[in-house]
């Protein structure tokens, strides 16, 4: 980072770390992923008194034991990148547990500034903290802050910068005395490290010894790469055995105990609690929200209102977006000459990407509601109330969060959801969660649902969405139960979850949360979906129809034209094909103000056009039109109709001839019982790249296959008018899309998280089988009930 100071923010979940991060960096922040993993990495920059600072928000953790992915990330960042200084955000109202991480950070040798956050909450609880005392005990500056109001942040930055600039400060590492026995063993291990010549630029040998005694997997791996490791490990094993022998407990527990001993000593000295008899509002709210009877009802109401807000709130914006893309493709098709390039840009890029981007407002509203649930603290209560249910299906409270992220409230993504399972320690439950997570309604499936619901169930959008959520949960749980009692048998693992106090979310926090996730969605649509759209477009364009077939269709068309022109009476109006085209154009403008004008300029065409209008409610009646004109009009209509049929037959054959068409056609043998034709099949194959591609591919398939691009309404409308499409077909397709093979990104993550191709293939095959069976049942039952005919 050169001259820039690197500042890391560390702290427990729910300690207000994100609020402080937002307050410090404001809009100058961006979200990415930690290399190789999909945990959010938030970075930002700030300028304070002329100094530029690069701020990294580490994932919220309770410790640095390297139990969970978040802990490993936070620790590795400190170990590998060596930030200049760390701000440890500590919840003042919950000091003892928060200080455990502080002790671990200090032990690592981090230069630390402690932000004693939510100091207002603490004092309202009657907790009085002697800041001076605390700073002396921990050997690091302590600043009282209130991240929400921005109190103390100036001071925090001043202290942080001056501390970072001073090379002499915090030179003496906090060295806890673990007691004679443990210290002796630590010394022995340290000596072995020294003898082996082991030296780390940043980490002290003492810290490494502590970690080795704790049998820390990551550090052990690190030492293993050292040539002289065998003697070190001999000593470690000996020491561990010795200590367990004396204390009858494993060293990691003894060390943790000692840390807590130090903390509770420090807290006893520096904190005074004056019991105030005040009503805990959060607890009062909680009593109602998790009440035995009221709780579940409220839970359902909350989940339902998430949909109402998402769909109804975003409806006008979604409409505007659709109109914009329709306008854009209209403008572009006017500007560009007929040909491959136009087809690529309009049918490939605008229709494909626009189809996905058009749903951006919907996704944004969904993320907003999720952010509200998370930031208020209600999300944890959902897990609390539903754990008993999940447990019955061989899952877990933590699975709840993973499934939620995957799309338990429609709009998530299975990729971070699957990554979230890393916090789960029990391999079996974790694996089951990973395997069923792709069944949830992720954000990428939403556009597909929205399209089909919009086309066929527009009267009851929210209730259908609600139904889909229930179905996906039901099937995920059922699948979990089945997998858990067949492929993965075994007892269940512990469930420990903090229930943070209810808080009113900050507007800024909600906006930042929503914006970041929405932006990621847009970026994804803008890049990978663009590439996929082009590939799909190419698949559905090449190879072209063989020449003789093309000629055949052209001959047929011109023969039809010839026959029409030779009909008696037609000659009076049309001499050649050009006249027909001219009339088509004339007819298009034959309305409104222009009508009178056109009538005068070409009375012949006018009479024909009027005859064509037939019984429609025009000023003139049929009687005024001459019989000859009427018969020509009839001929013309018949001619148009046959031309239309020929054209669409040609287009269909053209599409069928392409790579995509052939593939989809081949699949028809399998998908026939589901009622999917080859175009749907191509869309489903495209959806393997990313589920939202189903929409863009349907868009491409139908806009390529139709006759007059200018008459195309939006895709929903088009599907509604397409033969074979009806509510039953739409619902069957929705079920199939919900359940079939996860997108390839998800599969890659499954491979990485389970470490086995076996489970990756299992995930792919079982989901598709499930999708097929469910779709088949839906269709059969529907047909049996006489629906969708």
């Amino acid at each position: 980072m050169g001259d820039k100071l690197v500042l890391a923010l560390a702290g427990n979940p729910n300690a207000g770390k994100t609020t402080i991060f937002n307050a410090l960096t404001g809009a100058r922040q961006h979200v990415g992923n930690w290399p190789g993993v999909t945990v959010e990495k938030k970075e930002g920059s700030l300028k304070h008194k002329g100094r530029s600072v690069h701020v990294v928000d580490l994932p919220g953790t309770y410790s640095l034991t390297a139990f969970s992915l978040e802990e490993i990330i936070a620790r590795n960042f400190i170990v590998d990148e060596g930030p200049d200084i760390v701000i440890n955000v500590v919840d003042a109202s919950n000091l003892e547990r928060n200080l455990y991480l502080t002790v671990q950070l200090l032990e690592m040798g981090c230069k630390l500034v402690i932000a004693l956050n939510m100091i207002d909450v603490a004092s309202s609880k009657g907790i009085d903290i002697n800041i001076q005392e605390l700073a002396e005990l921990f050997g690091a500056p302590v600043i009282a802050t209130n991240g929400k109001r921005g109190v103390g942040l100036e001071d925090l930055l001043d202290t942080t910068l001056s501390e970072a600039a001073n090379p002499d400060s915090q030179k003496d590492l906090l060295s806890l005395n673990y007691g004679i026995e443990i210290e002796e063993e630590l010394e022995k291990v340290e000596l072995e490290l020294q003898k082996a010549g082991f030296h780390d630029t940043f980490l002290s040998n003492r810290w490494l010894s502590i970690k080795l005694l704790e049998a820390d997997a990551e550090i052990s791996k690190k030492i293993h790469s050292h040539p002289d490791h065998s003697r070190i490990f001999d000593q470690v094993d000996k020491s561990r055995k010795h200590l367990s022998g004396i204390f009858g407990d494993s060293p990691e527990i003894l060390l943790a105990d000692a840390r807590y001993g130090f903390i509770s000593g420090a807290v006893k000295v520096s904190v005074k609690v004056e019991r105030k008899d005040r009503v805990d509002i959060s607890q009062q709210i909680d009593r109602a929200l998790t009440d035995r009877f009221l709780g579940p009802i409220i839970l359902l109401a909350v989940l339902y209102s998430v949909y109402m807000v998402t769909f109804q709130g975003s409806e006008p914006l979604v409409k505007y977006f659709e109109l914009f893309f329709k306008w854009l493709s209209g403008v572009v098709s006017e500007l560009l000459p007929e040909g491959l390039l136009k087809s690529l840009i309009v049918s490939g890029i605008i229709d494909g990407v626009g189809g996905v981007l058009g749903f951006t407002p919907l996704i944004a509203f969904m993320f907003l509601t999720i952010a509200i649930l998370e930031d208020t603290g209600y999300m944890a209560r959902i897990a609390f109330m539903l754990d008993r249910v999940l447990k019955g299906f061989g899952l877990h409270g933590a699975s709840m969060l993973a499934l939620m992220v995957s799309g338990g409230i429609a709009g998530g993504c299975a990729v971070p959801g699957i990554m979230a399972t890393r916090t789960m320690k029990e391999p079996k439950e974790r694996l089951v969660t990973i395997l069923v997570a792709p069944l949830m309604n992720c954000g990428a499936k939403l556009p597909v649902y929205a399209l089909l619901i919009g086309a066929f169930f527009s009267g009851s959008k929210a209730s259908i969405m609600f139904l889909l959520t229930i179905i996906s949960w039901g099937l995920a749980l059922l699948a979990g139960k089945i997998i858990r009692s067949t492929v993965l048998k075994g007892p269940s693992a512990p469930f420990v979850l903090e229930l943070p106090p209810y808080r009113i979310p900050t507007f800024k926090g909600l906006i930042i949360h929503t914006w970041e996730r929405t932006w990621m969605y847009v970026r994804k649509a803008g890049t990978s979906i663009l590439a996929v759209s082009i590939v799909i477009w190419a698949m559905m364009t090449f190879p072209d129809m063989p020449e003789e077939r093309q000629k055949y269709f052209d001959d047929q068309l011109s023969r039809a034209t010839d026959i029409f022109l030779k009909e008696p009476g037609v000659g009076d109006y049309f001499a050649s094909y050009q006249d027909i085209e001219a009339f088509e154009d004339y007819q298009k403008h034959f309305e409104g103000k222009k009508r009178k004008e056109l009538e005068k300029s070409n009375p012949r065409f006018a009479s024909l056009a009027i005859a064509m209008e037939g019984t429609s409610s025009t000023v003139r009646s049929k009687a005024e039109v001459e019989a000859a004109t009427l018969s020509t009009a009839q001929n013309y209509l018949n001619f148009k109709k046959s031309r239309l049929m020929l054209e669409s037959e040609k287009q269909r054959e053209k599409l069928r001839h392409t790579v995509g068409g052939r593939f989809g056609t081949a699949l028809e043998y399998v998908t026939k019982p589901l009622g999917f034709d080859w175009r749907t099949n191509v869309a489903l194959v495209g959806g393997f790249a990313a589920k939202e591609v189903v929409v863009s591919t349907l868009g491409t398939a139908y806009s390529l296959g139709e006759i007059d691009p200018e008459q195309a309404g939006d895709l929903s409308e088009q599907l509604r008018n397409e033969p074979g499409w009806n509510p039953l077909m739409a619902f069957t397709l929705i079920m199939f899309v919900m359940l079939y093979a996860p997108c390839f990104v998800t599969l890659v993550v499954i491979r990485r998280e389970t470490g086995k191709w076996r489970w990756t293939f299992f995930a792919m095959i079982y989901t598709t089988t499930l999708a097929y069976c469910v779709a088949f049942i839906v269709r059969s039952v529907g047909l049996f009930l006489g629906l969708g005919v």
Partner: protein, 104 residues
């Protein structure tokens, strides 16, 4: 690599095989009723579980108050060290407590 958990098991506390068992005159946390509070005497289970619990503040001698049970009677909610946390009954059964007293 050295194992985290010891293989010898005591009937009540798997990792306390050589230590004087403290599990006398104790009550399981899972038997506490809402509103009751007490002190942790000993946490049973393998060291992974116990370490996790310690990181969350469950250390010997800590005060725990039971707030409530979830709508379906499981899991339970506690206040420990000033914050709220939830545990399943089966884990709460691994936490041995002294006799409960009524919370103030």
């Amino acid at each position: 690599m050295s194992p985290r958990t010891s293989k010898k098991r005591c009937y009540c506390c798997p990792s306390l095989h050589q230590r004087k068992c403290l599990a006398t005159n104790t009550v399981k946390l899972s038997s506490y009723k809402p509103g009751q509070k007490g002190k942790i005497v000993q946490i049973c289970g393998d060291s992974d579980f116990r370490l996790r619990m310690m990181e969350m503040g469950f250390v010997n001698g800590a005060d725990i108050e039971v707030v409530k049970y979830a709508p379906l009677n499981d899991p339970m909610e506690f206040i420990i060290k000033g914050y709220h946390v939830t545990l399943r009954k089966e884990q709460a059964a691994d936490i041995l407590m002294n006799e409960p007293e009524k919370a103030a």
